[in-house]
Amino acid sequence: MNDILQTEKLTKRFSSVLAVDSLSFALRQGSITALLGGNGAGKTTTLSMLLGLLEPTSGKISLFGQDFIRNRYNVLGRMNFSSPYVDLPQRLTVRENLTVYARLYGVADVRERIETVSSEFRLQDLLDRRVRRLSSGQKTRVSLAKSLINRPEFLLLDEPTASLDPDTTVWIRDFLKNYRDTYKATILFASHDMREVQLLCDEVLLMKRGKIVEEGSPQELLLKHGKDDLEQVFLDVSREEEA
């Protein structure tokens, strides 16, 4: 499989703070990769740069073979994003929100696509309800539905299963795997849920102080550190660094 994303010495500096320090990595098409790290590690800054919301101080981002920093509008329609920390308009209904975003992404058959994603995310009964009347778990499902409205080839997720009950979490996890398998989509997500990462991801990028300090498959990291779960690896790496 080809790399759909390549970063080269990607750097972001906010005044005297070096938030992301010369980050170079690649994502294979069809892979699911987790971006892990403690608070302030640079995960959100990295995601923001990959979404075009934040201008890097230096470095390169190549997405779908194009220079993303210069030509981001050529590829933004092939990507999408969901985060519990970015809201959808609260006064609009779920259907209205999905309609607006389907049109923004130039989806061909808006009605049919909304039917499909609402069925996939069990939102049929919520379609005509205003977003502000939804529970936080329902909002997360709506946000995920919005992120798949254009059937993206590259999906970026920030805490995709935050606020979801265990049953829905398992269901979302299976859905994302199935989506990747069906459409050969590439998924990059930031999470603090190590169990989710272990069950869902092919690759892990562990960040600390703006740098990738570990990378590999969950199994490789477990073997390397001689641990049973990723949480132990995460703590191990954090303590090693501090020592």
Binding site: G52, V86, Q90, L92, V100, R103, G106
Partner: protein, 266 residues
């Protein structure tokens, strides 16, 4: 699957604001409520003055200028409030990870602003006919020029304000309400330019709205349309619109540099 066009994205965003408008009857009523109240209050003031100083109210000038001035305020408020909705709902991040360009957002905001201004002003202008026997429509085609000039001034201010909002967040929200009134004393809405002291006149000649109201007075009181006043207004508006656009794009780039688009609303 996705082959969006610029028009499609602008329409999508306009649809978002129309959904918002449709979601609340009080909002729709409010759009027409304030211009109508202004018209009624100034209508009675005008009637009162017409007995003692008929020259002040000849040709329905007082009600006409109040209505036309409100076009500026409404166009600015409609534009900026729609943008503020994105900050209040913390939705800017979602919008700008989509293929929506900032210039398309500007087009969408201008479109919804024009719709809301017309929804607000037309009922007030129509009601002024039976209430006070004043019809701004009697001005004919020049009314369209006066209206467009004021709407353009409103948008120029809005672009400057939204640039500040995108850069500094909701802390700068009060500018939305304050800024249009900064130019009001210089705009010569209720009095001719010659009323102002010299130092204020030297500022007023750089304000496009001054030429709109001077032109309206020439038309309603003198019966003559003076195209050079209209053209001066449009020329100045073009300059301020370009300045407003530059200011917005500079602020947008600064927001991208400082990572403010995801944090907006906080």
């Amino acid at each position: 699957m996705q082959k969006g066009s610029s028009v499609g994205r602008i329409t999508a965003l306009v649809l978002r604001y129309l959904y918002l408008l449709r979601s609340s009857w009080p909002r729709i009523i409010e759009i027409a409520y304030w211009p109508t109240m202004q018209m009624i209050i100034w209508g009675f003031v005008s009637q009162h003055f017409s007995r003692s100083s008929p020259e002040l109210t000849a040709g329905g000038i007082l009600i006409s200028v109040v209505l036309v001035w409100d076009c500026l305020f409404r166009s600015h408020i409609s534009y900026t409030l729609s943008f503020l909705e994105e900050l209040w709902s913390r939705n800017l991040g979602n919008l700008f990870v989509s293929p929506l360009r900032p210039r398309e957002m500007i087009m969408a905001l201008a479109s919804i602003s024009m719709m809301r201004t017309l929804i607000g002003m037309i009922p007030a202008a129509i009601l002024a006919i039976p209430f006070f026997d004043v019809s701004v429509f009697q001005m004919g085609l020049p009314l369209l020029g006066f209206f467009l000039n004021l709407v353009l001034t409103g948008w120029a201010i809005s672009q400057f304000v939204t640039g500040i909002l995108i850069r500094y967040g909701l802390g700068a929200e009060s500018l939305t309400w304050v800024l249009p009134f900064l130019i009001a004393p210089f705009s010569c809405i209720y009095y001719p330019l010659s009323t102002l002291p010299d130092w204020m006149q030297s500022i007023a000649v750089f304000i496009p709205t001054t030429y709109v109201f001077e032109g309206m007075r020439a038309l309603l009181l003198g019966g003559s349309f003076e195209p050079e006043l209209m053209l001066k207004g449009f020329a100045l508006n073009s300059v301020y619109l370009i300045f407003g656009l530059i200011s917005f794009f500079v602020s947008f780039q600064a927001a991208r540099r400082h990572g403010l688009l995801l944090q907006s609303g906080e």
